[in-house]
Symmetry: C2
Subunit: 114 residues, 2 copies
């Protein structure tokens, strides 16, 4: 599938964005959730690097561009409703800006401990 074919199929929200779940391809850890627009998808397909749209900076965000913690794409998947993407990546260094490997490093509830 080309980037344009995926972009034509995706149901972007009213801001032109689609949520992206990023998963480590080496062990299936969920690393982060961010957003993509059409440009981010196009850049991801062309460069093989996980690319998002930064809502705070309002600009294309190639993960790792400033930190060096790039995410080399292994695969881009899409869900049944075509309103969410899944990036499967090889993560350089930690994914989280806190230095943790995954952004989901904290637990709110566990079975048997509630």
């Amino acid at each position: 599938m080309t980037a344009d074919e995926l972009i034509a199929a995706v149901k972007f929200d009213e801001r032109g964005l689609v949520p992206v779940v990023t998963q480590d391809a080496s062990d299936d850890t969920v690393l982060m959730v961010a957003w993509a627009n059409a440009s981010a998808i196009r850049n991801a397909f062309e460069t093989g690097r996980a690319t998002y749209w930064s809502r705070s900076r309002k600009s294309l965000w190639v993960k790792g561009e400033t930190s060096g913690h790039f995410q080399e794409l292994e695969e881009v998947r899409y869900d049944c409703d075509v309103d969410t993407l899944l990036y499967r990546v090889r993560q350089e260094g930690p994914a989280c800006h806190t230095g943790e490997r995954t952004c989901f490093y904290r637990s709110a509830w566990r079975r048997g401990r509630e």
Copy 2:
């Protein structure tokens, strides 16, 4: 952490919703992405069953209530910015309404096949 503590910390969007990634606790497959509001979080904590907010039906959505394909919660995690949740679940039957195990059953791009 209580449901009220998590709800107080979560940065809900302008609709009062937060995205939820749902992951199979048995093998870390990403099953689906949906949305939760405060009521959904409260119900999930109280019942131990993955609960969402259905944007189309505008109602609380206990996954499996109609299909029988319940998701027994193992853990609720939250990300660094507290604007995304991760439900780790034991999934009964398929997660996807198409009958596929995961909603992310289709690939748009793979390294080396672009």
